[in-house]
Symmetry: C2
Subunit: 590 residues, 2 copies
């Protein structure tokens, strides 16, 4: 959602004669961006563009000046975009602003009764925060360069500008070192990036207006460093991958950070550290990255330190988009800061920690929810309406598929793997209404340490972090309840869903019992069918205007309690709205 939008009249048709002209500042980076823009627009519409030479350009671009050779924090990203029925104009103080405006143009283009078109509109836009990042952990599971590249494409589409590359942790050191070859030789499973690949990725990101911030996690989370070089560690060694942290003394850490900061500063770089680095002995040039909450951001700002928020933006915790959307860097403790102190809060970063992702399913863990965090960091704080947020998120999600992201398509492949040659229609019905367990519930001390080389090919690994179907069903129940059970269209749709679920286990059970990856889902499917039946019976009582008997209600609530428990590490997300129907049917005459 741009900072300012003024709707116009009419629309600009996108046809084969679409073309772009650039005036003002121009460079190879902008040329590349315009070419990618045209390719993406062509993919979105399925239209190969063939403008006639000399024709008036459809979109005129003008930038005052070029970008910094190395992207800087706080560089001007603003732009103005005017679309009229006869043409569009994009202007910006810098070519970086042009990049952002082109992504907005792509989002405006829609299919209409008369063709693809962008609605007439005047947009004046700039980001709320200068630092809008995504952290990708490549240590716990290695993520290949091509997967990172398509995620950079996605980040550019949602105007994020920092890739925080979590390159080392206990489970693997992922950067080639020519001088300390045992860092990867012993401190990884053999999977790492060469220096050439890293240079290539940085250039790829820069083309898209994204800075790459490498993270070498120290002094904790550094087991992988000392496997090859145990003399650097304080303990007796030897060390292996995947053990606990080697150090954890706060004073030692502060001393360590002071020494480290001097090295970093000498190389003209800025030191960023998690909350724990905050210590009065460190200079004000450091940036505090908060995984603990707005309180530590506020504490840092009050002492004059700049800060970033990641608390509330951990994508690996499997929260719904709306919950991330509700987290604001300026909320809670930060809301009480003075304007000067607020100015020290630079923005935030979504975090994709990699305990439970592989190159196969990482896209679906990041997208489309990351688009919502990106909007929170770009758009005005007042943009808060949840239904319209979901509408925008779904539109962006479809757009992202044209960039090669597999956040929707990977699930189909994974369900087919589990099902063998069988039809997956009934399996998809089940997968559509479950979500992975939340927060850290997949992992418990009782299960022992995580095996980072175990297969991630179960239903929990395939399903989306947030179920669209469950959300829509729940919304529909609210609509139905608010109508005092009179909304016939809502009731019909509820019945269709409930009947599909009720009948699904009969179709699905034979498959579940035949393949070992699905056997754990047998009770899950049975519970879904039971919920479908309970919901239908509740609607029957409501239809007849009868109060459901207590004995029935008690039975259904017992069943609902059973269905509420995680099974196979996933949750049935339609439990609460079905419970609502059951309780309504038992309460109507009281």
């Amino acid at each position: 959602m741009p900072a300012s939008v003024q709707a116009g009249t009419g629309q600009l048709p996108i046809t084969q004669s679409f073309s772009v002209a650039v005036t003002g500042s121009q460079d190879a980076l902008l040329d590349g961006e315009v070419q990618r823009f045209e390719e993406q627009l062509s993919r979105q519409t399925g239209i190969p563009f063939r403008a006639k030479a000399g024709a008036t350009p459809t979109l005129q671009i003008h930038a005052e000046k070029g970008r910094e050779a190395v992207q800087k924090l706080g560089e001007d990203e603003s732009y103005e975009l005017t679309v009229a029925d006869s043409g569009a104009k994009l202007t910006a103080p810098t070519t970086l602003g042009v990049l952002r405006g082109l992504q907005t143009f792509l989002q405006l283009v829609q299919i209409t009764p008369s063709g693809f078109a962008a609605p007439a509109v005047t947009i004046k836009d700039q980001p709320r925060f200068p630092w809008r990042g995504l952290l990708i952990d490549v240590s716990r599971h290695f993520i290949p360069i091509e997967v990172l590249k398509r995620n950079l494409d996605g980040m550019a589409a949602v105007k994020m500008n920092v890739l925080h590359w979590h390159l080392s942790d206990d489970q693997g050191f992922r950067v080639e070192s020519k001088r300390f070859s045992k860092l990867t030789g012993m401190g990884s499973d053999g999977l790492f990036y060469t220096q050439a690949e890293i240079r290539d990725l940085i250039a790829y990101a820069h083309d898209r207006g994204i800075r790459v911030m490498p993270e070498f996690d120290i002094p904790g989370h550094s087991r992988s460093w000392v496997i090859g070089y145990p003399e650097l560690a304080s303990g007796p060694g030897p060390y292996t991958l995947e053990d606990g942290d080697p150090k954890n003394n706060q004073d030692l850490q502060a001393y360590f950070n002071q020494r480290l900061e001097k090295i970093v500063a000498k190389n003209h770089k800025t030191m960023v550290g998690w909350d724990e680095i905050l210590h009065p002995n460190l200079p004000k040039t450091i940036v505090v990255h908060s995984w603990r909450g707005q309180a530590s951001l506020a504490a840092a700002a009050k002492q004059g330190y700049r800060g970033l928020l990641s608390f509330g933006y951990y994508l690996d915790l499997m929260w719904p988009a709306a919950r991330h959307d509700a987290v604001d860097p300026m909320a809670d403790a930060a809301a009480t800061l003075t304007p000067e102190e607020k100015g020290l809060i630079l923005g935030g970063e979504a975090c994709q920690w990699a305990e439970w992702v592989t190159p196969e399913n990482i896209d679906s863990h990041i997208w489309p929810r990351n688009a919502v965090i990106a909007e929170r960091l770009w758009s005005p704080q007042e943009v808060k309406d949840v239904p319209s947020m979901y509408a925008r998120m779904n539109a962006v999600s479809l757009e992202l598929e044209w960039l090669g992201l597999t956040h929707r398509s990977a699930r189909m492949h994974m369900l087919h793997r589990m099902a063998g040659p069988a039809d997956i229609t009934a399996l998809r019905v089940l997968a559509d209404v479950v979500e992975p367990v939340k927060d850290y519930d997949r992992w418990s001390d009782a299960k022992g340490p995580i095996d980072f080389h175990a297969p991630l090919n179960r239903i929990i690994d395939a399903v989306y972090p947030e179920s669209d179907t469950a959300r829509q069903f729940s919304d529909l129940v609210q609509t139905f309840v608010k109508s005092d059970y009179k909304d016939q269209a809502a009731k019909t749709q509820l019945r269709t869903w409930l009947a599909t679920w009720r009948d699904n286990d009969a179709r699905l059970h034979p498959l579940l019992s035949q393949t070992y990856l699905l056997q754990e889902d047998v009770p899950l499917s049975q519970d879904l069918s039971a919920l479908g039946a309970a919901g239908l019976q509740a609607l029957d009582y409501l239809d007849r205007g009868q109060t459901a008997p207590d004995v029935w209600k008690t039975q259904q609530l017992a069943l609902i309690e059973q269905a509420r428990k995680p099974m196979a590490d996933v949750l049935l997300m339609v439990v609460a709205p079905v419970q609502q129907l059951v309780e309504a049917s038992a309460a109507q005459h009281t």
Copy 2:
């Protein structure tokens, strides 16, 4: 289907400890192939392999000798594969045979109640024909290198060994020439392969046991050559892309071919030409490629010429797989040849002509049907059972997705493009039962010349060439009819499908009317609903044991005739089985 299969007892589990050992002949090509094999097996199962050092290998590979540096026609591709519950062994006279055997192993691995496993089996296998090719036309629509590469992966999976690269035609010359730069400069739309890209593709194909045969189509179909060099043509010029053939005199062609063959032979290459090159003045070393049928193959063989069949294997004609499967190079006129003459028939090639494909949908036009042609050319002539062919084709189709082919997934993207942000469930119901018009029906003289730069983003471009749903529905109607209308399970399933179709237009119509790419499908959706209703009424009459009245039957047949006509260039494929139900319901007491 291998030449010889002997089932054993038990199965070989595929677990994280899976490993491969190679003895005998070994080279970099084989090492690369084994690595790709392990990666593909890992993708199929979702299991990252981690064999312990020194453990007994799961699969032992032994080849007597290496491959030819440049792959030859008739090189030994045979192999033997034995799978037992304790391990598997693959042996072959050449490492090329090992490549083929590894693909068979991948096809054996299935999900079972106890895990992924390959069944115990002894296979002795070799190809029926030494030449098993796929022609891809890259002139009419340019197909980028990465799309060709994933299709080479698919070809290797189904053991094809020739990529026939149709590099030039009237619509574009696609090879960089440093000496005659106007060949691409004026004879293409700017899209062509550099010489480095061509070398890279040839190496990529060779790694996978595939020869690349370039085709420069002359003397006809060579408009693109003479645009830049009109002095080479007999007419007055100037020429433009996309006009008709510049020459067509048979005697002139024979004279031309004689001169050309001498040049080709001097470069130690073999000349292959379409049927028209057959002429007694040409030497017996040429190969006749028949697009006209087995009769010209037989005529060529009788004169001592080698031949290839492509008649019946044109994938762009949108035939069902079973129709391609029924075409055999040794059938019809070829069946009457002597054994020596039969030995001159080298095999055949599937052809993907590119009037109506783009990089986006070419995979779905080639796959999975090409797997059936590949099997026809590899497996014994007696392999003819249609239902088991479809079962194998569907299994291979799923396997191909792990190679990155988009033959299933592209449709989803294209339907979303047409639907905008709307839900596509109802649109998919319609897309599931339609196929593109067949043969050359998409194109008529009345429509004028094809615009090779027009968007290909309609429903015809998105749907699969063969509808699985329609085939399954038709099979079910046959089962129901054969049971004398008593098979209750079949009837229930028929009712479910018919009701879904009957009710679909109500859900789909609002979307169809709102987006310009779907407006043409409004009557199609209405017809599908009418067919669903007609089928359900027919089942009602059959249920009640009533003869359907004549007036009803007449109405329904009129509606069926209407629905049989192509609309929006697609065909509703459930017309015939619904008609069968209607006629059965009206005939039951006569």
